[in-house]
């Protein structure tokens, strides 16, 4: 069954989902973080920016918000408003006991 060797292929690389928390100030600058350094800093900043934009635009829509919970299939992002900035928690979901 030599032809079956055709099935072998190098394993695909997959970026791990981050776990930890970080705070951003009102300008979107990351102030402090416990996210692994292997996770791209630009992506951390991007998440912070999205969260701040969501809080600000909600304010414009007359929906003042204090907390956000964003549920993906494999990740939960929780954010709390912090004097114009935010503290943001990233928690990958465990397939056996998913994070609520």
């Amino acid at each position: 069954m030599g032809f079956l060797n055709l099935f072998s292929k190098p394993a695909p690389a997959i970026a791990g989902l981050p776990s930890g928390c970080f705070t951003v100030d009102r300008t979107g600058r990351v102030v402090v973080a416990t996210i692994p350094s292997s996770f791209p800093a630009t992506t951390v900043q991007e998440i912070g920016r999205h969260v701040l934009d969501t809080f600000r635009e909600a304010q414009v829509a007359q929906l003042p918000l204090a907390e956000l919970a964003i549920h993906f299939g494999s990740l939960k992002i929780t954010a709390r408003e912090l004097r114009g900035g935010a503290i943001i928690f990233l928690a990958p979901k465990n397939p056996i006991s998913p994070t609520q």
């Binding site: 069954m1 032809f3 079956l4 055709l6 099935f7 072998s8 292929k9 190098p10 394993a11 695909p12 690389a13 997959i14 970026a15 989902l17 992506t43 991007e46 998440i47 999205h50 934009d53 969501t54 635009e57 909600a58 414009v60 829509a61 007359q62 929906l63 003042p64 918000l65 204090a66 907390e67 956000l68 919970a69 964003i70 549920h71 993906f72 299939g73 494999s74 990740l75 992002i77 979901k93 397939p95 609520q100």
Partner: protein, 352 residues
């Protein structure tokens, strides 16, 4: 009429594509096999043909399998998907299943594994998921109730549809009572019958159950069918019955302050109840869902399921089941967990 299902194979290796084609052409259902060597080509084919099944590799240049699956999950929710990979990592497997993939299969390495793979694919293509209740496939709940009543059964039907659950009591072929989360009697019966799919189990009859339904099952089923037709044609009815679908059904849920649905920019694409400034909330809903959906795709974190936003005056939850985005405002006295659970029910009602 051509009844052969279409399968789309996606892999950047042309030799593997040919190999899979040969394997799948031997399926008893004789499906029509199409191949694509890139994610972009696969998306173009999916746009052009009604495929039943997508089988994809994960490691490909430019658009990889996870990116394709993220898009497919959103654009073609009824398409069955199989991932073929050489990775045997549990974490990886759970990530792929979180994307809504039907089958995660390590590349078959023996003749026996190839046989099993063929059988799994055949079974997956046969599976009917359009509607119906598990246990009596392709039967509507109306059919099931008629069967129970015609056979003069005494039973309790417990029906579950995602986070929603209800019971219908039947005694000697007569409908006696029905109950959902917050409703009893004929109104509960109507709500339960509005669910298109779910699972049910038959429990032993309860002769002592107090009777709240006095109509014959035929009369009630007829009335229910009429009300569901009205609901399907977006008619709110005369208000004497609870709404079963759409914005009216969501608006009357306990704790809801406002409801907004949108399909895209423009006044003609959104509808709202209970909001003084729907345009701004509509824009925020669309932007927020789009922003985090894009982020989820970039992180390969699986589909965006739901967003809850808690505020001092009111809470808000967002979800997008299908083409329509939903934004529901909730009373601020509810906890975050309550908002999450109730929004899941909203999504289920909306999908019904």
């Amino acid at each position: 009429m051509d009844t052969h299902h279409k399968i789309l194979l996606l892999d950047d290796d042309p030799d593997l594509l040919e190999m899979y084609r040969e394997i799948l052409e031997q399926l008893p259902s004789q499906p029509e096999i199409h191949t694509a060597a890139s994610g972009a080509r696969a998306m173009a084919l999916l746009e052009a043909h009604p495929f039943r099944l997508l089988i994809t590799d994960l490691k490909m240049p430019k658009m990889d399998g996870l990116q394709v699956l993220s898009i497919v999950r959103r654009k073609y929710p009824l398409l069955r998907t199989v991932v073929l990979t050489s990775v045997a990592d549990e974490n990886f497997r759970s990530r792929v299943y979180a994307l809504g993939v039907d089958l995660f299969w390590q590349k078959p390495a023996t003749e026996n594994e190839i046989k099993m793979f063929r059988e799994c694919v055949e079974s997956l293509m046969d599976r009917n998921e359009d509607s119906g209740f598990r246990g009596v496939q392709s039967k509507s709940l109306v059919d099931i109730i008629q069967l129970e009543c015609i056979s003069h059964s005494s039973s309790v039907l417990r029906i579950t549809n995602g986070p929603l659950s209800g019971k219908i009591w039947i005694d000697s072929g007569e409908l006696v009572d029905a109950e959902t989360d917050d409703t009893r009697g004929e109104d509960a019966f109507l709500k339960i019958l509005a669910w298109r799919a779910g699972s049910f189990e038959t429990l032993p009859g309860e002769a002592t159950r107090a009777r709240t339904i006095f109509k014959s099952y035929n009369a009630l089923l007829l009335e229910t069918a009429q009300l569901l037709d009205e609901a399907a044609s977006n008619n709110d009815g005369d208000g004497s019955r609870p709404a079963t679908r759409g914005i009216p059904a969501v608006a009357q849920m306990d704790g809801v302050e406002f409801v907004l649905t949108t399909k895209g920019p423009g006044k003609e694409n959104f509808e709202a109840r209970g909001l003084e400034n729907p345009e701004r909330v509509e824009a925020w809903t669309r932007q927020t869902l789009e922003r985090f959906r894009t982020l989820g795709e970039r992180l390969q974190a699986g589909p965006l399921e739901q967003i809850e936003a808690l505020g001092p005056q009111r809470h808000v939850a967002l979800a997008q089941p299908g083409e329509t985005a939903l934004c529901v405002g909730w009373r601020a006295v509810l906890s975050g967990d309550e908002v999450r659970e109730r929004m899941k029910k909203v999504v289920t009602i909306w999908a019904s």
